[in-house]
Amino acid sequence: MATSFKQIEEKLKTEAAKLLESGSVSLVLAYGKGYDEKHPMPYVAKCASDVANIVFNEFCTYNMARYLVRYPRGTKIAVAVKAADSRAVIQLIQEEKVKREDLVILGIPVSGMKNPKTGETIDSKTTCGLYNPVLYDVLLGEEVHGQPVVSPYDVLAGYEAMDKDARWAFWQKEFDRCIRCYACRKACPMCYCDPCFIDQTKPKWGDKSPEPAGNLMYHLTRFHHLAGRCIDCGECSRACPVDIPLYLFHKKVAKECEEMFGQAAGMSIEDKPALVNFRVDDSDKILE
């Protein structure tokens, strides 16, 4: 029997209060009330009296690992993470952006999360499809078993089967709708560069305002920079106001990386990120 959202919320509050009262962390990254049930917000609890504001329901989709890099190194932080979110924490540890010992990871085992925009249940079509956090200190509920996890890459089959011209037309149509609000990079736990390459002016890689060439440059480079790092949480696509299916491209790159380099992003803190690593016997076949 899966733990209910209400039960998870209670456990989250109890843990957060314990950690803040004992002083073992200085903040807890969790979820708080938004303007209605369907729109909870990222919330940072800084003292025990903040804990009452914490909520958790099926619309708490945000990846709170996103906020870890905002705080000075060495800050003791407790972070509430669902399955994919925990992979982001692992990836950030691999990239030495945060230290394992500075974190208390509050794992949330969950299925049946819903997209606040559409109300639809989120599954492995747009995310990695895992139910349980990969890494945690405290698990706030029972592990979720049961439903078989469909491969997160199955959704790609139709796009891989398209011929190159159809694929080009498909992406052109999608990228043309991009209004360059940058919500995708804001939502992404792995997009922490300051400045982002697209904001640079020397060299200038592409226009910052929406136009086809800059859109292509922004997206292809962003996909590249996330290669071997994207943990398939799907937040970028959900954040996008014009519903560009960015997850498809990220999944394709993740799949290729997994095949070529033998590891998926954010699965173990022992791994090194695939693209800052190599094996002497990597095959030249990957270049074909």
Binding site: L216, H224, V253, E256, L275
Partner: protein
Amino acid sequence: MSFEPKILGIACNWCTYTGADLAGTTRLQYPQNLRVVRVMCSSRINPSFIFRAFQLGADGVLVGGCHPGDCHYNTGNLYARRRLAVTKKILEFSGLEPGRFRVEWISASEGNKFAEVVTEFTEQIKNLGPQTKFKIEQ
């Protein structure tokens, strides 16, 4: 008029660029469609260079580096191999013709190989025709 493609070559200083020099000094014949930019190492190549080259009108991009194990900086091309493999996959999934981007390891003594690769790649790009997808219309 026959189609004369514009091909960008990005070659590392220590191997492929020197190999190109050797091809020149030994008077080997190869097509003149390649414009070579010299970089210190294949790992210096930012993948966005390649996207940008196609946007600015390249019909093909050829990257050349030292053979794995021979990089002047020991491991540069081992990183580059992984990175450029990803670049290739991204170009392919975006819908660009896969044959327009190629990576070759060519040492300083392989003037012959340099000439052969350039000849073959130029032929391949000619067959693919002008690159129109990425190209920004002026």
